[in-house]
Amino acid sequence: MPGMRFLHTADWQLGMTRHFLDADAQARFTGARLAAVRSIGQLAAAEGCAIVVVCGDVFETNHVERPVVVRALDAMAAQPDVTFHLLPGNHDPLDPASVYRSPTFIDHQPANVVVLDSHEPVPVGDGEQIVAAPWLTKRPIHDLVGAAISDLPSDGTVRVVVGHGIVDALSPDPLDPSLIHRSVLEAAIEDGRVAYVALGDRHSTTDVGATGRIWYSGAPEPTDYVEDDPGNVLVVTIDASGVDVTPRRVGTWRFVRHDAELTGAEDVEALAAWLAALEDKERSIVKLALVGTLSLRDKAALDAVLAHHDDLLAALETWERRSDLVVLPDDDDVASLEVAGYAAEAAADLRAVANGDGDDALVARDALALLYRLVGSSR
């Protein structure tokens, strides 16, 4: 049996926009996704893979900006000896509005880019085929992968099945009609009709089941905080001895979530230290869940820390849903203002409101924080 070696990737989601990024960070984020395509091409060439299978969601949507399309095609064309097999997924289904049918794509499609537009087996070598299960609409009503392999003969051909979607074992929604049935895949592997199932849709690299032949490659660049292990592509080798799957890292960005309880200056300093220790800050997107109660002084210190790291990081978000940070001015706060006379009276008034509840209290806390800042600015 001749050996088959290829690169398995998915979910490039080119053209993706993250609204929490500012314009500058968004440009870098977009650039990184395109750079990942080039990296994948280079990696394939370096690893001796003549084939790259991209298992769906190559594009974020069918309505992406045209420059995204031509740049992606250009990046793939840069490795003419590597053939990219692109599978339409749920983000970019092969429907009448499909990006793969757009004049821009067709006009600029290089020879080494193939769109897997049907489940007719595509021969890729001697006794080797790719069997694809493209998405033709956004909401299929059956297991596309199962359907694609249902009629395959057991004839010794080495078949790589390229699919997109969630495997039933991993889905929280058992009633989803488009679920991929793992048992069907395993049966096809068992009787030799299929050698490897390359899947997309799940952004974390995942080995499905026990065969070692059903994999999600994961997204080459992360897209969200919920992803466990993104940023990889898989180098797959199929030969007589079996299947070897080797994850290779290509991702440069990361999404980080961090919970912190803040009750005083020490906690603020600890958080500052944690943030300072982050690597590749300009490519890190951080979401903080902050709980606790801080004095005016400590909140001012926290604000300074957050403002500083907001400048450093690609994005620094506060996870509103899981944050509960209360600023309560204490006696020291008011004393540290070192104001006398009517100013001290006014500060006391604000503090009284700030220690209450509701919107008025929030505004009063802000007003005290502002007072704190204005007093500080004169010293």
Partner: protein, 881 residues
């Protein structure tokens, strides 16, 4: 600070002078300008400010005039806890000596003494206060500025009073920054600042853009779904179309098999049509022949009937003609009798009328004559009445006038008279008139006027009238004239004539009345003209009847009249009988003539029918003959029977063909074929329409795809998210800035009010001695007096009179000095103020200064001693000249 003592030596124009003012209370220092009362204040300044080696112009100016010695000042002062004596000499033999007496004794000299003195003063004295409490003539109208005083003096007092809420410079600086912060987000009228509203507007715009982009994307998705759905539908329609076309082909084959049957049916039907036409033609010919024969018979019978009718009607015409001739003769006789009877009636009536007319004419002529006679009588009476105008009243007047004349004459006769008796014939010229008197004759002259009598050649006598004579003569003349006038008016000569005239008049009146009565009786209801008209009419009528009215001899007796009436009645009866006879004859004749006319018309009709019937017979015979010449009656009948048989055969063949078609179910087959055709056409059309629609939608999708809709949406959405977050942050800051500002503003305003209160109360307390119990003042932020309210009227300080401004300025300083403690305070120093104050106010100001003096040291320098006499408890020091 308090001044215990000050000594000037060789200071400007002052050789030596020592002042020891009262420590509490008012000290008035009097002296001329030249003596140097103002110099005392300057000397104190110099002592407390400049070292002995100072080159300051003020120091130079203090140099004594005309003496080669240094100016020297020495003062004993208490400031805060320090009591000390400081002396300095400038210009020559400079020296400085300081001896501190309390709290601990110390002595310094030279520069050290100066520095220590400055140190003590800086520690214990607010120099600003010292400056503020001094007032000179030049700035008597200006207020002291207490707002910037050091916290140690007035500020400290007020801070204590306001419980320390006034705060200091740091707080004021903070306040300015708070105001600046508010101004970043709010306008002066607390509207959101421009950049905030612009940001909100930009967010609204972005929300619209996002919504539009989202709608575009949704629309694109919907279009995509529709294209997919159309694709499925097109596929289904294609299948349906293929099926419909197959059905159409099958139906077409079956329909083709029907054609032969239908052709056979059509042919049979066509033959049947022809046979039926033939049958109708032969039957028509047989019927025509039969009709021709019937026509001959019928016309012959009609001709016989017409002729019989004509002959039956002829005798009636002869009989009616005879009767008509008889009746015409009877009518002629009756007409002649009638005409004669008419003539007799008219004659009798004329005779009767003649009698009546003659009788009427006689009667009317008699009445005419009587009326004429009466009219003559009336005219004569009228003539008398015209002439004799004297009535009873007139006569009475004339009689009275006559009596008056008689009486006047009698009176005149009794008066003097001149009698001339001719003794010889003589002529006497009396009153110019010659009177010839014969002897013995005499003439009596009476005159009411002067009379001149000339006896020519003898004498001229003049008799002058008397008054009485003239009066009597005038009375007589007037009576006569009256009588004459009355007679003239009555148309008589005298009284007797008048009486005659009255009688005539009365007679004439009677005659006129009688005549009028006669006329009325005879005319009765007529006028004279009507009577004449009647008479003329009768004359004319009679003339027409041939009677001469003037010579009439017509018998007009009652008998004659009765005879005439009887003749009329008789003739009238005869006329009626004759008329009736004529009418009867005429009626009978009319009936007969009508009968004759009817009979004639009937005869003519019969005659015409006979002629037409004869013509018809001839024509019918001719037609029948002609027809028989073409075909015999037998031939015609045989042809008709043959055609009947042929038609029946053809009908049987058609029935057979119809049955064959029915059995083939032709209608159903055709319906199916038609339906299959229609289905195929419709499906074809539907398919084309959907393909076309899909092509259009695909073009739309393609165009939209080129636009990169998702990117537009993402860009807008992203900006919206960032803008919203920024907006939220900024709005929170704006709310905080506003709350901070408003909280501070409220506290600050209240604090300022509390802070200024003690000073305001002190000024008002002193001021009420001057202005009255209702004085109120308002202080500004710098503690200066902003406005004064008096008698309910509030005026800004600047608009007050010069006197009032000066007084308030002094009161402000006094109030300030009374508030500050003795140790922390400074003396109030007035240099000849109150120059603007009138004498009345000088008294009350004196009281106020006196009152203030109880709590502070007040030193008044003046060159006009009388100005301050009203300051009660004052110590007066008079400077030596």
């Amino acid at each position: 600070m308090k001044l215990h003592r000050i000594t000037l030596r060789n200071f400007r124009g002052v050789r030596e002078c020592t002042i020891e003012p009262s420590l509490t209370g008012v000290t008035i220092i009097e002296g001329n300008n030249e003596v140097g009362k103002s110099t005392i204040a300057e000397a104190l300044d110099l002592l407390l400010t400049y070292p002995d080696d100072s080159k300051h112009s003020l120091v130079k100016a203090a140099k004594p005039i005309g003496a080669d010695v240094g100016a020297e000042v020495e003062a004993e002062l208490t400031s805060g806890k320090f009591r000390f004596v400081l002396s300095k000499r400038w210009h020559r033999e400079r020296q400085t000596l300081l001896e501190v007496l309390e709290p601990a004794h110390e002595q310094r000299t030279g520069r050290e003494a100066h520095d220590r003195a400055i140190e003590i003063l800086d520690e214990s004295l607010d120099r600003g206060l010292l400056e503020a409490l001094r007032i000179t003539q030049g700035d008597a109208l200006g207020q002291a500025t207490f707002g910037n005083l050091r916290a140690g003096s007035l500020g400290a007092v007020l801070d204590v009073a306001s419980e320390g809420v006034r705060a200091g410079e740091a707080e004021e600086s903070l306040w300015e920054r708070i105001a600046d912060e508010r101004d970043r987000y709010w306008t002066k009228t607390m509207k959101p600042a421009k950049d905030r509203t612009e940001r909100a507007a930009r967010i609204a715009e972005l929300e619209r853009t996002v919504a539009e982009a989202e709608a575009d994307l949704r629309s694109l998705d919907a279009t995509t779904a529709e294209v997919i759905s159309l694709g499925e539908e097109i596929e289904r329609l294609g299948t349906n179309l293929a099926e419909a076309r197959a059905e159409r082909e099958a139906a077409a084959k079956e329909v083709a098999g029907l054609a032969a049957l239908r052709h056979g049916h059509e042919r049979a039907a066509s033959e049947l049509g022809r046979a039926e036409a033939e049958l109708r033609a032969s039957q028509g010919a047989a019927r025509t022949r039969s009709e021709l024969r019937s026509a001959v018979e019928r016309t012959q019978e009609e001709a016989a009937q017409a002729r019989a009718a004509f002959e039956a009607a002829s005798p009636d015409a002869v009989r009616i003609e005879g009767a008509i001739a008889e009746r015409k003769e009877a009518l002629a006789t009756a007409n002649a009798t009638t005409i004669e009877a008419q003539r007799v009636v008219e004659e009798a009536q004329r005779a009767r009328r003649t009698i009546e007319a003659v009788l009427q004419l006689d009667q009317l002529r008699e009445r005419q004559d009587r009326v004429a006679a009466a009219r003559v009588q009336a005219i004569a009476a009228e003539a008398v009445l015209q002439r004799a105008r004297v009535d009873a009243d007139m006569l009475e007047l004339i009689e009275r006038a006559y009596l008056a004349v008689v009486e006047a004459r009698a009176a005149e006769q009794g008066a003097a008279a001149l009698t001339i008796e001719a003794l010889a014939d003589l002529d006497a010229i009396v009153a110019g008139e010659v009177t010839h008197l014969r002897v013995g004759e005499h003439t009596v002259l009476r005159s009411s006027t002067d009379i001149e009598i000339e006896l020519p050649g003898v004498a001229r006598l003049t008799i002058a009238s008397t008054e009485e004579g003239r009066s009597l003569a005038q009375g007589r003349a007037e009576a006569e004239a009256a009588l004459t006038q009355l007679c003239n008016d009555a148309g008589v000569d005298d009284l007797s004539a008048a009486r005659q005239a009255l009688r005539e008049r009365e007679e004439a009146l009677r005659s006129r009345t009688v005549a009028a009565e006669r006329i009325a009786v005879d005319l009765r209801d007529l006028t004279l003209e009507a009577l004449d008209g009647l008479i003329a009419g009768l004359i004319t009528e009679l003339a027409a009847l041939g009677i001469d009215p003037e010579a009439s001899d017509v018998a007009t007796s009652i008998d004659a009249q009765a005879e005439a009436d009887a003749a009329i009645a008789e003739a009238t009866a005869a006329l009626a009988a004759a008329t009736q006879a004529a009418n009867e004859a005429r009626t009978a004749l009319g009936g007969l003539e009508s009968q004759r006319s009817s009979v004639e018309v009937a005869l003519a009709g019969h005659q015409g029918r006979v002629e037409r019937a004869d013509d018809a017979v001839v024509a019918a015979l001719a037609a029948l003959e002609a027809a028989r010449a073409a075909a015999t009656d037998h031939d015609v009948d045989a042809g008709a029977e043959d055609a009947q048989r042929q038609a029946e055969l053809a009908a049987a063949r058609v029935t057979d063909a119809e049955r064959a078609l029915r059995e083939a179910n032709a209608d159903s087959l055709e319906e199916l074929a038609t339906n299959a055709e229609a289905s195929a056409t419709r499906l074809d059309r539907d398919l084309s329409a959907r393909r076309e629609h899909r092509a259009g939608l695909q073009a739309t999708i393609e165009a939209a795809g080129e636009r990169g809709l998702a990117h537009s949406f993402d860009v807008a959405q992203s900006e919206l998210v960032h803008r919203k977050a920024e907006h939220q942050r900024i709005e929170a800051r704006a709310a905080a800035a506003r709350l901070l500002y408003e909280t501070f503003d409220a506290r600050r305003t209240a604090a300022r009010a509390r802070y200024a209160d003690p000073l305001r109360e002190a000024i008002e307390s002193l001021g009420r001695l001057v202005f009255g119990a209702d004085l109120e003042i308002t202080l500004g932020e710098d503690l200066s007096i902003q406005q004064r309210t008096l008698g309910g009227e509030t005026l800004p300080f600047d608009q007050l009179s010069g006197g009032a401004r000066e007084q308030l300025s002094i009161l402000g300083r006094l109030a300030c000095a009374t508030l500050v403690s003795a140790e922390d305070g400074a003396p109030v120093l007035f240099d000849d103020t109150l120059g603007f104050t009138d004498p009345t106010r000088l008294k009350t100001m004196g009281a106020a200064i006196s009152a203030a003096g109880k709590r502070c040291q007040v030193i008044v320098l003046t060159c006009t001693p009388g100005r301050y006499t009203s300051v009660g408890a004052a110590e007066v020091i008079r400077l030596p000249q």
